[in-house]
Symmetry: C2
DNA sequence: TCGCTCGATGATCAAATGATCGAACAAAAA
DNA sequence: TTTTTGTTCGATCATTTGATCATCGAGCGA
């Protein structure tokens, strides 16, 4: 695939001329010696491959106010609030992903070895995809959540693989379902040497980037068949509103002890006590779940959007 | 000017939707409740104010090769080679400025107090203008070159002011012309308490970002009347090919001792010995001047373009 | 060697964008 | 109150961009 490299090179050059230099596609075409549609294709490639990173360098006043309020109220280290796109669906995580990637890049920039743990979810996955390629073979990435479903298929929202590919770092995946079929199965899983080794690496991580899940009929946990309908009903009856790493919690952010909790294989949240736990979640519907995680005092950092931030602020004010 | 702030806010929002979200101007218009041309104006404003930062995240193979060669040959810490735009004039420093700003940002990111010194020139000026706004009141910036011309007017290419404004940092300007009228004047200037105080701060700087000047009829030093035509002739007769901070040097990078040198008020290059000296210069015509600075071993880092890099590589190979 | 398939290329057109210009509006002065 | 001046806004048009489609040529098997 040397040909492809060459093409990317040219695409990067076209992108320079277009985005940094502000040339028109016609000018670029004559410079690179290709037709105008050729430039078109190069630029499309450059964007698709994530070669072009755009950063809007202005703190939106409304977002800043909410961000500050949340940092104050919940004692966070930081809170990024990205503007919401009223037209985009609630599940459009692109804006979050870009902002999250910038936070993540700050950690990765370091040249000393770093161990970082990741949760799963669309937001986390999109975040690592939005990240720049960056050579950091000294780092290690480890998943905090089992990455196989009950049917044995791998979790398509796992970010560790992509991130390790982009950086050339070592990767550690948790070979388990999020929720085991029974307490015995969980114990058997956790007894495995491999599982324990990965968990140990996870405990050494300095920081964790995780998603926040809702608990309702549209919960990822339910939709991706990590829990059954009966189990969902059980959680709802116990007033669960959100989950971190599969641990369901109530409005106050307390982990709910129930038949499901006893079968969750993820690392216990307490084990991450000294890590910087950074959550990535947005959309108005996720407001209650995010609020719950904040109330529980689990988080050190939050990347969210205007919609969720507004919900949080308004709920606090009561 | 609160109205203006509001406008910038909206411009930033429009830029988010357009650049990060990829919406069309029509969609943005209906969301922000303005007309399509209104969005047009907002986006133009956002770009003009430098709210939109674009980064092409791909190492161009040809540039990387030259960069590595230069780092190796001259023992630099780094060398960034940006692609040249064949259509842009040799004096277009925009690409250099963007790359330089990224290097500069790495220093500024630090939260501990930092003292940084700056030379002058269009490239340096453009670099600080390309930089993101960033709150760093703990830093200090100091100019290494006198920033008044013989007629008493201030140097329009001084970057310290702009940089200090953008960061809220302290600023130290050297209250002197680059080249004094006479040796006595130079000594009088350097005897001033203010001058000595600023020079002392400059000596404490950790790193310096400077330009590289040519010595010919198109030299900034000459065009901006820092030296007269007779003085230029004198320098050319002594085989000067470039200058750093106003210190003229020959092909081997040795500072030339002559009537002009004895009147230059800038800090002596030796005084910066332990600082990281980063130079910013490009264009084919500047090749000899850049090469001379490299030969002299003055630099720790270089940001240049393909044209100059090619000239340097080819000259070395002989 | 011929014919087939697949991928790349350039012509063409619709959509989106940037720029100009005149109208409307507001503020200030007569 | 009227006029003038300066500014903002939106209609319109030229330019640029993105996408489709037909064509061409290289590679591969018969």
């Amino acid at each position: 695939m040397d040909k492809y490299e060459l093409k990317l090179d040219q695409a990067a050059r076209a992108a320079w001329l277009s985005y940094v230099g502000g040339r028109t596609q016609d000018e670029i075409a004559s410079q690179l010696g290709v037709s105008r549609p050729g430039v078109q294709r190069l630029l499309a490639l450059a964007r698709q491959e994530g070669l072009v990173k755009v950063h809007i360098d202005h703190p939106l006043a409304s977002c800043m106010v909410m961000s500050d309020a949340i940092v104050q109220r919940f004692g966070l280290d930081f809170c990024d609030v990205v503007p919401a796109d009223p037209d985009a669906s609630d599940s459009d995580v692109h804006y979050l992903a870009v902002a999250g990637a910038e936070r993540l890049a700050r950690y990765l920039d370091r040249s000393e070895p770093l161990t970082l743990s990741l949760g799963t979810g669309r937001a986390i996955r999109a975040m690592v995809e939005a990240l720049s390629r960056l050579d950091r073979p000294q780092h290690r990435f480890v998943s905090l959540v089992g990455n196989v479903a009950r049917d044995g298929s791998s979790n398509r929202y796992d970010g560790v693989m992509v991130l390790a590919d982009k950086t050339g770092a070592e990767r550690f995946l948790l070979p388990a379902p999020v929720v085991a079929g029974s307490v015995e199965e969980k114990q058997a899983l956790q007894g495995q040497r491999l599982f324990q080794a990965v968990a140990e690496v996870a405990r050494q991580a300095e920081a964790a980037f995780i998603g926040i899940g809702r608990i309702d009929r549209r919960a990822t946990l339910f939709q991706d068949h990590f829990i059954s309908e009966t189990e969902l009903e059980e959680l709802l009856a116990l007033e669960a509103v959100g989950e971190l790493l599969g641990w369901p919690m109530n409005q106050a952010g307390e982990v709910i002890d129930c038949s499901i909790t006893r079968r969750v294989t993820s690392l216990p949240l307490e084990a991450l006590g000294d890590q910087s736990l950074v959550a990535l979640a947005g959309g108005h519907d996720k407001g209650p779940a995010i609020l719950s995680s904040l109330q529980g005092g689990w988080l050190k950092g939050l990347v969210t959007d205007e919609r969720a931030a507004r919900h949080i602020i308004e709920s606090c004010r009561l």
